[in-house]
Symmetry: C2
Subunit: 123 residues, 2 copies
């Protein structure tokens, strides 16, 4: 199962956002998600399982609590997948100053928009 399949769910994305702020117990996550999405505790637990099995989160037992934490690998994989599209905004838009003004992130564009193979070139 591809990483992006797992991220194709708003609840799971939100859970990851919570975990990004630091380790959280299943119960803590459930409380928040429950109030935000109005779903049951088992539903949250099932999402946690998907995240676990997808490698997005790791668990650590502490007493009867299960402490979840973000695991980087699949997210990095998504980031890599995006690489092939980076050329579409790294230039072209900073002409308008849009991106640089906002993100302030700076990358070296080394592979930038590899050559076309068959059809026409764009723009």
């Amino acid at each position: 199962m591809h990483a992006l399949d797992v991220l194709g769910d708003p609840v799971r994305r939100r859970i990851l956002e919570l975990l990004a702020a630091g380790e959280r117990s299943s119960g803590e996550v459930s409380t928040v998600i429950r109030s935000e999405f109005g779903i049951s505790q088992p539903a949250v637990s099932q999402h946690l399982r998907v995240l676990r099995e997808g490698g997005f989160a790791s668990v650590r037992a502490e007493g009867t609590r299960r402490l979840y934490a973000v695991e980087a690998a699949p997210l990095r994989e998504v980031d890599r997948w995006l690489d092939q599209f980076r050329g579409f905004w790294e230039q072209r838009l900073d002409a308008l100053g849009t991106e640089l003004a906002r993100g302030k992130r700076q990358r070296r564009l080394d592979q930038g928009r590899g050559g076309d193979s068959r059809t026409g070139e764009e723009t």
Copy 2:
């Protein structure tokens, strides 16, 4: 509909990969996808519609052909969403030389893993 919902489908991801190499007509895309996934031409057309409506692709008419091209905005949005997780690999792993050896992409980590709010710190 969130950008990541749209990317939660292998066919749509593959279509975007094709478009990343340059403008392609609906028919050209269909041919490739069809051979790779074994689905019908209308099925491909429907995926193209989702990409269109999600802002991932733009269309340009040329005679009876429709030429599709990648549109950056939603992909950039995904990239931004990933920002909150970047801290989980930008350090910690380049100690192993893994990332730097591979991606060769260099970012300035200006916001890196914002402080925890409630529970424990990780690691």
